[in-house]
């Protein structure tokens, strides 16, 4: 029994058939409870007022926007090294979810920034990084769609993901260098004492769990979809062979 067994599409679909309902349930539970807790039952921040409630959307989505990219990077590496099709398809499946997360992070960031910065958009390094990420996700998805042959597309997008990751780090550094920011320091870290109080912390954790589960659930569903699409292509190709 090894992890690689799940690289078999049939095994993958059978397993996810079992676990998916649980993931759906967990996602809905965490998100609903976390967001309601955050929206209705947390006090205002003494400085930022009620805008602090946006944190329950902004921080988890920003985290997932980056983690989605990391997951795609790992999946791309697995595809390039071990050539497991499910891995490449999972990377493809994660991109639209990642772009949705990036969009949420960008929009909530801009909405949050508006009263504090006095304008909706500021070229703050972090916000700019997410804009960069957004552009890159679009390029990645369009490249997948532009290439007809699945293996070719998987190879090309994996290479792009690898090179893009290096440039993502470079860009991040460049943005910091170019405009040292207006953003507040990391609001979530292990020594929470210095950062945010418990009243904000627990619902935030719940929301993060909800976004993580949402991401996993959606990626699983989309990977199953991509596997089926791939199988459909294979079947049609097989028909042509006869």
């Amino acid at each position: 029994m090894s992890l690689w067994e799940y690289a078999n599409p049939r095994k993958f679909i059978a397993t996810t058939d079992v676990v998916l309902p649980w993931f759906w349930a967990g996602t809905i539970a965490c998100l609903v409870v976390g967001l309601i807790w955050g929206f209705f039952f947390t006090p205002d921040d003494f400085r930022q007022g009620s805008t602090v409630k946006i944190i329950y959307l902004h921080v988890p989505s920003a985290l997932m926007a980056i983690n989605a990219w990391l997951m795609m990077l790992v999946a791309s590496l697995i595809w390039l090294i071990r050539r497991h099709h499910v891995s490449a398809l999972a990377a493809k499946a994660a991109a639209p979810v990642g772009i949705a997360m990036t969009l949420i992070a960008l929009l909530t960031g801009a909405i949050w920034g508006a009263p504090i910065w006095g304008k909706p958009w500021a070229w703050d390094p972090r916000l700019t990084s997410f804009l960069w990420l957004f552009l890159f996700y679009i390029g990645y998805i369009v490249l997948w769609q532009a290439l007809d042959d699945m293996d070719t597309a998987a190879d090309m997008t994996s290479i792009l993901c690898l090179v893009g990751s290096v440039f993502a780090l470079l860009s991040r550094y460049a943005f910091l260098f170019w405009n040292s920011g207006l953003h507040q320091e990391a609001s979530l870290s292990l020594d929470k004492e210095t950062n945010i109080a418990d009243v904000f912390y627990y619902p935030l954790l719940l929301c993060i769990a909800g976004f993580v589960l949402l991401f996993i659930t959606l990626v699983l569903v989309r990977t199953r979809m991509e596997i089926r699409a791939r199988r459909m292509k294979a079947l049609i190709a097989r028909e042509r062979m006869v």
């Binding site: 998100l31 967001l35 929206f39 209705f40 039952f41 205002d44 007022g49 009620s50 805008t51 409630k53 946006i54 959307l57 902004h58 989505s61 639209p96 979810v97 949705a100 969009l103 949420i104 929009l107 909530t108 909405i111 949050w112 508006a114 009263p115 949402l214 959606l218 569903v221 989309r222 199953r224 979809m225 089926r228 699409a229 199988r231 459909m232 079947l235 049609i236 097989r238 028909e239 006869v242």
Partner: protein, 52 residues
């Protein structure tokens, strides 16, 4: 029931609305695409079984 959001009510509510709309959109899109793909695959599979 509704908490007092003070002068930032628009911002907070719009942030929640926008986020929830995006989340629901990606979920709906995913489910719709998944269902469509599944249906099409079943059709192709039926066809290939018929042909032998």
């Amino acid at each position: 029931m509704m908490p007092d959001l003070g002068r930032y009510a628009t911002e907070v509510i719009s942030a929640y609305v926008v986020s929830i709309v995006i989340i629901l959109a990606i979920v709906a899109l995913t489910l719709w695409q998944a269902r469509k793909t599944k249906a099409r695959l079943e059709e192709v599979e039926k066809r290939s079984v018929r042909r032998g």
